[in-house]
């Protein structure tokens, strides 16, 4: 008997808590925006903050025109699935998905309810099959041409660029292909090494250094960027400059980057979401946007340490990373 009662209690508890939370969700009159962020990460956080700013810029006020239900999956795909299904069950007005796994989960959960999904921080929405249906958003595709041009200006003599990337990241694989296709135009050769896990990154960095590349260039590869400080330790010792792919990387010691500002990317995403909420357009009618603005960020201390000279035309439009 005792056993049945324990089980009954658990079931009852599960039921009641869900009931209360569901009732609470049902009460709100203002449209709810469900934000599903794949994990805690400086770029992704900036993206979310920018998104909220973008909504504000469009004249929408939180609490009055919309409420936010923010969930973070802690880099766990199964949890991203459940978060998306919760949004779908609560019939949120719009889902904002930050990073690819969250976007695929939201897209799948919204499939038969036709809830609009607005994504951000996805490099290749076509590759991720997120380019048709009631979905739109912004892509964080790297400005590869601008980056190659920047490297050429800072290192006129350089021949090879070393790049580390994760083989399982479609974003990284497509970025490598673009680098290889475009490097020739700027007189560079690419030396790329793929890794499968974070523990292999420093080993791969060692072998790039051994191959005597003239510099490193980073992608927005989470696995590699996650251990950037230990890469920088090795490259600084070898006197090889590392170019970042966004401002946060320059802050922690890369010499420079022609990169996107995730806060701006988020704002652009927020502007799209605002159009959908106001009923000006449907997500299915808005093509995804690639960020038009990129900044040139530099870290003067790192540049001095590497004995690089910044030409006047670069100096005219660059921003010191720690002030950005």
């Amino acid at each position: 008997m005792k056993k049945t009662s324990l089980f009954a209690k658990i079931v009852l508890l599960v039921f009641m808590v869900t009931l209360v939370s569901a009732a609470a969700a049902g009460c709100s009159q203002t449209p709810v925006i469900g934000i599903s962020q794949f994990g805690e990460h400086a770029s992704l956080d900036n993206c979310r903050l920018g998104f909220l700013q973008g909504l504000k810029d469009a004249g929408l006020t939180e609490g009055q025109d919309f409420t936010i239900d923010y969930q973070n999956a802690g880099f766990d795909g199964a949890i991203a699935t459940q978060i998306a299904q919760t949004f779908s069950a609560k019939n949120v007005a719009l889902m904002c998905a930050i990073a690819t796994p969250s976007a695929t989960a939201c897209y799948a959960a919204a499939e038969d309810k036709d809830i609009p999904v607005v994504f951000s921080a996805i490099t290749d929405p076509v590759e991720a099959k997120l380019d048709s249906g009631n979905i739109t958003g912004t892509s964080d595709k790297l400005p590869v041409d601008a980056q190659l041009e920047l490297i050429r200006k800072l290192q006129p003599e350089a021949d090879t660029i070393g790049i580390l990337y994760t083989t399982s990241e479609p974003n990284s694989v497509s970025a490598i292909a673009e680098y290889e296709a475009k490097a020739g135009q700027y007189g560079f050769a690419i030396e790329a090494i793929g890794v499968t896990a974070q523990s292999e990154v420093t080993l791969a960095a060692d072998s790039l250094i051994a191959k005597q590349v003239d510099c490193f260039s980073n992608l927005t590869d989470n696995t590699v960027v996650g251990v950037l400080p230990s890469i920088l330790e090795k490259t600084n010792e070898a006197g090889i400059p590392v170019y970042g792919s966004e401002v946060e990387q320059v802050k922690i010691g890369c010499v420079a980057a022609a990169g996107i500002d995730y806060y701006q990317l988020g704002r652009q995403t927020g502007a799209i979401a605002a159009r959908i909420l106001k009923g000006e357009a449907k997500a299915s009618e808005i093509p995804y946007e690639v960020i038009s603005e990129y900044g040139i960020y530099v870290n003067s201390e790192a540049i001095a340490e590497m004995n690089l000279t910044v030409p006047a035309d670069v100096a005219a439009r660059m921003t010191e990373a720690k002030d950005a």
Binding site: K2, K3, L6, F7, I10, V14, V17, T18, L19, S21, A22, A25, G26, G39, E40, D69, Q71, N72, A73, G74, D76, G77, A78, I79, T81, Q82, I83, Q85, T86, S88, A89, K90, N91, T100, P101, T104, A105, Y107, A108, A109, E111, D112, E127, A128, K129, L130, S132, G133, T167, S168, E169, P170, V173, T196
Partner: protein, 298 residues
């Protein structure tokens, strides 16, 4: 109340899909007494082959059979490494799991997504003919329920056959098996084959449901499986008439239910795993207090 119903349906669906993985862990861990870490590799293996086949336009139901076969192969490898090469059980699983990480990426190329136009087991012809009028989440629930129950019934029947009884005997008292002039190594291999076939099937259905494969989706699945087996068997310990498979099925649903509650009450993601650990500990301690001793397995 629609919100509540929808939440219950999608949580139940998740529990049912992952229950197949729990059955697999139940066979190796609880019946065979074999801590099989192959699971972290065979789960995404099922999803990887499914994603590739669906993209190539294969019949969705056929992909399930392929996943079962290829999962069985993964189990066979672990079994052979352990039994024939005499590598310890834990290490044999780790070796296969590590190899599978590369193999999965080799199969799929990289993380991949299946386009919405491709039909899945939830949207293909036969299901649409029978249940086409229902919304997708109901179809997902019904299809997963059928597969989870079918898996459970087949497993229950199998465990009652002579072969199935030998499987139990190896876990409980392997000397007895040898004294019956049976090869206990062969029995272990059989168990691993069945277990990993079920795990890969679970991964395949997750791929159908999410339309995506990711190389890291297997991480932590062994822990999930163990948790559900222990939650289920501890809850039903004194109810002898409840089958082990039923117990782990309930365990899987409860586990997903707890995550759902944690999300619904707005707990930060970083705390989700902590909540699960606390729940896990609570059930174990509670079971311990009532029975006056935690079994070696739990």
């Amino acid at each position: 109340m629609n919100v509540l119903l929808d939440l219950a349906i999608s949580t139940l669906t998740q529990g049912l899909i992952y229950a197949l993985l729990s059955y697999g862990v139940y066979i190796t861990y609880k019946i065979l007494d074999f801590p099989d870490l192959t699971v972290d590799g065979s789960f995404p293996l099922g999803a990887a082959v499914t994603a590739v086949l669906l993209t190539r336009g294969a019949d969705p139901y056929l992909t399930l059979l392929v996943a079962i076969a290829i999962g069985a192969l993964a189990g066979l490898v672990t079994g052979l490494i352990h039994v024939r090469l005499h590598v310890r059980d834990l290490l044999a699983g780790i070796i296969t799991m590590t190899a599978l990480f590369s193999i999965n990426l080799q199969i799929a190329g990289s993380n991949m997504t299946v386009e919405r136009a491709a039909s899945t087991i939830f949207t293909a012809g036969p299901v649409m003919a029978l249940l086409g009028a229902l919304p997708l989440i109901y179809r997902k629930l019904i299809v997963s329920l059928l597969i989870a129950l079918l898996g459970k019934l087949v497993l229950d029947v199998y465990l009652k056959t002579k072969n199935g009884l030998l499987l139990r005997a190896v876990g409980d008292n392997s000397v007895l098996v040898t004294s019956l002039a049976k090869d206990k190594g062969l029995v272990k291999i059989t168990g691993l084959v069945i277990a990993n076939a079920l795990v890969a099937l679970s991964g395949a259905i997750v791929c159908h449901e999410q339309r995506a494969f990711s190389s890291t989706m297997g991480t932590g699945q062994v822990v999930f499986g163990l948790a559900t087996v222990i939650i289920g068997t501890t809850l039903f310990r004194s109810m002898g008439f409840v089958k082990g498979t039923t117990a782990v099925l309930v365990g899987s649903i409860l586990y997903k239910g707890c995550i759902q509650i944690a999300i619904s009450i707005g707990l930060p993601a970083n705390l989700l795993k902590l909540v699960t650990a606390v729940l896990f500990l609570g059930i174990l301690v509670f079971g311990h207090a009532r029975k006056g001793g935690v079994k070696a397995h739990a």
